[in-house]
Amino acid sequence: MNSDAPVIDVRGLVKTFEDGLVRALDGADFTADKGEFVAVQGPSGCGKSTLLHLIAALDRPDGGIIRVNGRDLAHERDLSRYRAREVGLVFQLDNLLPTLGASENVQVPMFELGFSAAERRERARKLLEQVGLEQRERNLPAQLSGGERQRVAMARALANDPPILLADEPTGRLDSDSGRRVLDLLEQLRSQRGLTVVLVTHDAEVAQRAQRIVRMLDGRVIGEGVAGVAPESRTPSSTG
């Protein structure tokens, strides 16, 4: 892969639901460079989460191209290795497994990489330390606050050292104080690890934390700009 090429390169992405009646993505284009922090902002139903899920390979597109680190996701048969190694995912809901403790939840993705039980435990301990939850290793999700759960989810997303972190409204269910702390942590982890971060949000204030903001509407990217500057509009045809 060319070192100048974007880490994430999405072109003309189409995704429909309900037998084509709902067109969630209608030719969306998107790129993110290595180490970049990009926010995808738009109203509910604009297709921003669908875009993120397709980059995370949780689903298959109906058309278009998704290249991540040079891999063409639309044509790869088994995407589980990609999900295990290349991307870390943080959801709006923490999506932790309720019967497992914080450390165990963080260890779950590591099974796919063949770490020993001791290695998994140690890696989880370090990750929980990084997110400030080293004292909560054994606590079940139900025993943690919303903000703490989201921090565990971040530690889990980074369990296998992925180069890309994808966050889908990670502060959507948190109070403003917890949300701010989660975003601080996200930025801190990005700069420490050199992560490429794609953050999806409907909240303009949250989007301002990113280096670049991409705006979406009706399944398309309609403009982009740097944080603090009004987004530059573009027509879908000009992004080709």
Partner: protein, 371 residues
């Protein structure tokens, strides 16, 4: 955390459902074990009967539904004794009588010289002499049950016999009965001039299987039994029990698999979102499959263990009934428990197949959207 800990936590999250499923499968396994133990015991008895009097094989009426119904004419016994390469052919008559509290008293009629030539191990007393008509050699278990010793009188079907001696071979059916003169046994059984089976020993160097094959060819009305598998030629009982055992195993698999499938489908449905999360964080379909099958296997193997223990207890409970304990000597062979384990594993795999397939077929997003 290990993979197995995760599997166990999944099973433990609904303890009552897991326990009830385990109990349901265990009952099927209990039946398989109990029947297996009984069948093994009967096969063992059949194997002992075939070699009665140190014979190489047994000859009886071909196609008899039960060995006790077999009839072999006296002239056939003589012909068998004169058969090439046969060293000895002894006709014996078996008669089942009610004696004391034992409805399965095994009375064996033998000729005095045959008994003297090949006697069972004596505990006390002596064999009855040639020409004796009212003497028996009583089995040790029967003697203990009846409280009879040497010189005492025992009544068998309204006829009184003096106990000349007590034998003890360690075989339940033999020690629970008696040896009587052949003519007397024939008279009691109402089978004058015939025997139940002939026990054949071949000359040194001769091949018993070849001699048995020759006899079967030359005596179309007779069947030779050289091993337990041949026993069905002269007794359908074990074969029937074997068939019942297989049928119950199949039923246990069917019913058990439906129970396990129900539990696993419920469990997988409830966890569809969680399975979506596992897929989202990189778990392969194969690992999800392994997790669901491992849960099912642990459940069923545990049920096999519980079922095996219950099966042993059930057999022991049945043996507390005098009638049964006089007839049956259970055999806890490894085959019985291997069969139970195989049944459990098949139940686990069949029961887990559909839910596992369903879990793997969904894309991570479909699973995550599941409500």
């Amino acid at each position: 955390m290990s993979f197995s800990v995760m599997v166990l936590k999944n099973l433990a999250r609904r303890p009552i459902r897991t326990a009830l499923t385990l109990l349901g499968i265990s009952i099927g396994i209990t039946t398989v074990v109990a029947l297996g133990v009984v069948t093994s015991g009967l096969k063992d008895t059949a194997g002992e009967i075939i070699r009665l009097g140190d014979a190489d094989f047994m000859v009886a009426q071909d196609g008899a539904a039960d060995l006790s119904f077999s009839i072999v004419a006296a002239e056939d016994v003589e012909k068998l004794a004169d058969y090439p390469e046969v060293e000895r052919a002894e006709g014996m008559l078996f008669h089942i009588a009610r004696v004391g509290s034992n409805p399965y008293f095994f009375l064996i009629g033998r000729r005095a010289d045959d008994l003297a030539g090949n006697p069972p191990p004596l505990r006390e007393g002596e064999l009855w002499a040639a020409g004796a008509e009212d003497e028996i050699l009583l089995g040790s278990r029967a003697a203990d049950d009846l409280g009879a010793g040497v010189g005492d009188t025992v009544e068998i079907e309204d006829r009184e016999f003096r106990v000349s001696g007590i034998h003890q071979s360690g075989r339940l059916w033999e020690d629970g009965g008696a040896y009587a003169p052949l003519e007397v046994a024939q008279e009691i059984a109402g089978k004058s001039g015939v025997v139940t089976a002939v026990f054949v020993s071949v000359e040194q160097g001769a091949n018993p299987a070849a001699v048995a094959a020759g006899i079967e060819e030359d005596f179309p009305n007779l069947a030779t039994v050289t091993n337990v598998d041949d026993y069905a030629k002269v007794d359908q009982g074990i074969q029937t029990l074997d068939a019942v055992n297989i049928a119950i195993s199949v039923l246990a698999v069917g019913i058990g698999a439906i129970g396990v499938m129900n539990t696993m489908v419920m469990s997988v449905l409830e966890r569809t979102r969680e399975i979506g999360i596992l897929r989202a964080v990189g778990w392969s379909g194969r690992r999800i499959l392994r997790m669901i099958i491992a849960e099912s296997l642990i459940l069923c193997v545990l049920a096999a263990f519980v079922g095996a223990v219950l099966g042993i207890l059930a057999t022991r409970a049945i043996l507390l009934i005098d009638t049964v304990s006089n007839l049956l000597e259970p055999q806890y062979t490894p085959e019985v428990f291997i069969r139970a384990l195989v049944v459990a594993v098949v139940v686990a795999l069949v029961g887990a197949a559909y839910p596992a397939f369903r879990a793997v077929r969904l894309t991570p997003m479909e699973a995550l959207r599941y409500e």
